[in-house]
């Protein structure tokens, strides 16, 4: 059984494997990057490491957050050894659901979300969508 770090995004519960999370930060001062794709929130100085911060709502095609709503940076490790920060609404608990609770995402999930969700986990009261961090960290080059 593995542990998952959960967070919410527009009322949905998402999860990422704890092993892929480097750290969780309060909202940070970001350096904006002109000309960058809209989902790039900016750059972050993580103790000397420059980390790109991605607005996960924009990445998933969800409506933008209210102007003064709080946000949290979930810094995840990527395959190439670097890190990416995902901006989410609120951080949740670390949970340890049984393996059999996972299922393939239902067809009804919007395709922009489904592209980034690898599995769905049935919890007692709600569903946790398992985020594919590798895919979430990729930003398509504007044509």
């Amino acid at each position: 059984m593995s542990q998952y770090c959960t967070f919410t995004l527009d009322g949905h519960l998402f999860g990422v494997p704890v092993s892929s999370v480097q750290e969780v930060l309060r909202a940070q001062a970001l350096t904006s990057v002109p000309l960058a794709p809209s989902e790039v929130a900016g750059l972050l100085n993580l103790r000397g490491q420059i980390v790109t911060s991605l607005e996960l709502r924009a990445r998933m095609g969800l409506p933008p957050r209210e102007a003064d709503a709080p946000s949290v940076n979930v810094v995840v490790k990527t395959a190439d050894g670097s890190a990416v920060s995902l901006v989410v609404d609120e951080i949740g608990d670390v949970i340890e659901p049984p393996r059999e609770a996972f299922e393939a995402p239902p067809e009804t999930v919007p395709s922009s979300v489904r592209a980034l969700v690898s599995r769905v986990c049935k919890l007692d009261r709600q569903l946790m969508l398992l985020l594919d961090t590798e895919r979430a960290a990729q930003v398509l080059e504007p044509a």
């Binding site: 000309l35 490491q49 980390v51």
Partner: protein, 755 residues
């Protein structure tokens, strides 16, 4: 190491390292005599030393290592089995080699110690395996080995595992080891002598002790740490400056100095001589010239020039490509060279030197050179540029066409070079590491390619500027100067050419690029205009920014994958206050703007085809009284400045002697019926125009610009000396009919012919 040749120095360093390895290998081998990998390693080491000593004519060293090698060969081939006795013997060889190397290092020669005894005993051990010849000095052990060796080896060869042989041999081993050690009058004193021998040289470290090999990844991580330190220092300096604390100020000052020296020191550890790259080239040159039937001599100047390892790696391919290019396209075949009156053997010169905090590398060949006209023709025939645009290029600019993507001068593809991806890739690669490349050619005499690259990549000085709320760093290598214009100055000094702002910097037109505009930020009315004059791609431009802050040492950090596709940024860095700032790529900005210009040119060319005659390139000149006139560039030969006292008179006409000709001058103002207000003493601004064989100097009051323009807004309004008027670059400009200018000149045949 006076008197010691560089090669010998390297040999010593390498051998000393190898010997230490040998010691441990041999001891390990004793524990595990069956290990073929260890034996092979030991064999290789001895073999290398033997080979090099033979090459360097150290005969004693060679003879010792030679027998040692023979013995090892036997062991390796399984003819002999390693016994502790043999191990000791081999260790003695190592000691002897070490002693010899010490002598060589100290005196440059092998010294007069004799190793005949050791050689003899080694030979005996070798022959001990042969049953027939046991009689030699040190016969005791040889005999002991002798009977046992052959007696057991057949077994080993048959089916008994080697490991079983060893325990059998183990018990007598100590005896033999002693036996070897005791009748050894030479090696023992030698071993004792050694410390004494080195003691006089205690003052200076031996070659082997003064250098160590370090893993490059360790150096990289050190460099990163120093980078962090530099950033922390920057923050510290900023904080300290904000306080009035004398102690803190003193400490930070000290920190500043130490960090700076540390940074320089670590940077130096990463420097390598360019020769590590160049040493591969003679072979490349030889193979290639053989293949192409050319003879080329390679000369290398400045081999010892040092640059950062990462940069060295980055220029490896471009440099090889350029060398291949020079041989393939530059240097002609011996027959062609003879026909051109040059020596049959071509010369390719590589030159490297430090200049202005950068490294310059020049690749010069004495080949055919590049004809700018051929490049002009080619660029037009390839449809990459319009004829007018190509003709307008200076020879130097035309030569630079070779770096244009999709451009290749080779008329036939060879497997050597010339696939049309070459030079622009070379250029891109050089620019990627913050360098620049330039090519100059003297047709018939040769070509020189100049590469300028920074010494190091990791920590660079940069200028920090702002646009909107963002801070950006611009690498100082691109920086030429800074210009500050207040609102009043900006209003007059910044002009528009065809919608593009330009600034007159000491008489030259400097295209201006607004950083906000390039970054898609909101435009703003500026009180004060700050212009950062940048050099990129052999062209200069002024980057208009909101404010210029400071220069700072920055550590270049790569951007994440999500942002790599944005060409305008060369990376990011962390500023003194801990915030992240993007690093601007001056060349990419120039290219972005240049590309826009190019597409305009192409659009112009398309229009040209559609509505011929209405798009033209026009030289815009100033007449007296704010009037502007446009002369078709196709009629313009050159622009000259002619001092007034050179003007002579012939009949009613003003003339000057110009390039062995008599050039009649025509005051354009008079042709266009103006009032002719020219400066009294100022030199004349002359546009030398040509019509067929005939030339005339058209005198104007000022030369403004060349514009490619669509002459659509046009009236027939003029003053009978012209071709109507059009709006060019926002100004009504009278178009000069060149025929009319020449019509005013009498005696077409008598004037303006070769005198």
């Amino acid at each position: 190491m006076d008197g010691l040749d560089e090669i010998i120095g390297e040999f010593l360093v390498e051998s000393h390292e190898n010997l230490d390895q040998l010691d441990s290998d041999l001891v390990a081998l004793e524990q595990d005599p069956g290990s073929t990998a260890l034996l092979a390693s030991v064999f290789r080491t001895i073999h290398t030393i033997k080979g090099t000593s033979g090459f360097l004519a150290f005969s004693v060293l060679e003879s010792v290592t030679h027998v040692g090698e023979s013995l090892l060969a036997r062991l390796r081939d399984g003819d002999l089995t390693l016994t502790p006795g043999l191990t000791s013997l081999l260790l003695e060889v190592v000691d002897a080699v070490r002693a010899l190397l010490t002598d060589i290092e100290r005196t440059g020669a092998e010294g007069d110690r004799s190793y005949d005894d050791l050689v003899a005993r080694l030979t005996a051990a070798l022959e001990g395996e042969e049953p027939a010849a046991p009689a030699a000095t040190g016969a005791e052990d040889a005999i002991e080995v002798g009977p046992e060796g052959p007696a057991e080896l057949p077994e080993a060869d048959d089916d008994v595992p080697v490991l079983e042989v060893v325990p059998d041999e183990a018990p007598p081993a100590p005896v033999r080891a002693l036996a070897v050690a005791e009748p050894d009058p030479v090696a023992e004193p030698a071993a004792e002598e050694r410390p004494e021998a080195t003691e006089p040289a205690e003052g200076r470290r031996s070659v082997a002790d003064s250098t160590i090999r370090v893993d490059v990844t360790l150096l990289d991580s050190l460099m990163n740490l120093v980078g962090e330190l530099v950033l922390t220092r920057n923050q510290m300096l900023q904080n300290a400056a904000a306080r009035e604390d004398v102690d803190l100020a003193r400490t930070t000052h000290r920190l500043n100095l130490v960090a700076g020296e540390l940074q320089e020191g670590v940077m130096r550890t990463r420097l390598q001589q360019i020769d590590t790259l160049w040493s591969k080239l003679p072979r490349v040159v030889r193979d290639l010239s053989m293949q192409l039937g050319k003879t080329v001599q390679l000369e290398m100047v400045g081999r010892e020039t040092e640059l950062d390892k990462t940069i060295l790696e980055a220029v490896r391919d471009p440099l090889t490509h350029l060398v291949r290019n020079s041989i393939d396209h530059g240097i002609e075949s011996p027959a062609d060279r003879a026909a051109a009156g040059k020596p049959a053997e071509g010369t390719l010169t590589l030159r490297a030197f430090h200049a202005g905090g950068q490294v310059s590398i020049e690749i010069t060949d004495d080949g055919a050179g590049i004809h700018p006209d051929r490049l002009r023709d080619k660029v037009v025939s390839k449809g990459l540029m319009s004829r007018e645009a190509a003709d307008r290029l200076t020879d130097h600019e035309a030569t630079a066409l070779i770096f244009m993507p999709g451009f290749s001068t080779a008329s036939a593809l060879t497997n050597v070079s010339g696939r049309g991806v070459g030079m622009d890739v070379v250029k891109t690669n050089i620019e990627r590491i913050g360098g620049s490349i330039d090519l100059s050619s003297d047709p018939g005499r040769g070509t020189t390619v100049r590469i300028r690259i920074p010494l190091t990549l990791a920590i660079i000085p940069a200028l920090v500027v702002t646009a909107a709320a963002n801070r950006f760093a611009i690498p100082q290598v691109n920086l030429l100067e800074l210009v500050r214009l207040d609102a009043a100055q900006a209003a007059t000094a910044i002009e528009n050419v065809h919608g593009a702002p330009v600034y007159r910097l000491r008489g030259r037109l400097l295209p201006l690029v607004d950083l906000r505009e390039q970054l898609g930020l909101d435009a703003v009315e500026r009180e004060t205009t700050y212009v950062v004059v940048l050099q990129a791609d052999n062209q200069q431009y002024g980057l208009v920014v909101d404010d210029i802050l400071d220069t700072e040492e920055i550590v270049v950090k790569p951007l994440g994958n999500q942002l790599r596709h944005l060409p305008l940024y060369a990376g990011a860095t962390i500023m003194g206050d801990g915030a992240v700032a993007l690093i601007l790529d001056a060349t990419a900005i120039a290219r972005k703007v240049g590309m826009a210009l190019e597409s305009e040119l192409n659009a112009g060319a398309d229009l040209d085809a559609a509505e011929a005659g209405d798009v033209a390139s026009v030289l815009v000149v100033e007449l007296g009284g704010g009037r502007r006139a446009g002369i078709p560039v196709s009629a313009v030969d050159r622009l000259e400045e002619i001092a007034l006292d050179l003007v002579e008179r012939a009949g009613h006409h003003e003339v000057v002697q110009y390039r062995e000709q008599i050039l009649p001058l025509v005051r354009l103002d008079h042709v266009l019926h103006g009032d002719g207000a020219y400066g009294e003493d100022a030199p004349l601004q002359v546009v030398v125009c040509r019509k067929g064989e005939q030339r005339a100097g058209v005198v104007v009051s000022g030369i403004l610009d060349i514009v490619e323009t669509n002459l659509s807004i046009r009236t027939a309004l003029d003053s009978s000396g012209g071709d109507g008027s059009a709006v060019i670059a926002g100004h009504v400009t009278e178009l000069v009919d060149i025929d009319q200018v020449f019509a005013g000149l009498p005696g077409h045949d008598r004037l303006a012919r070769t005198a």
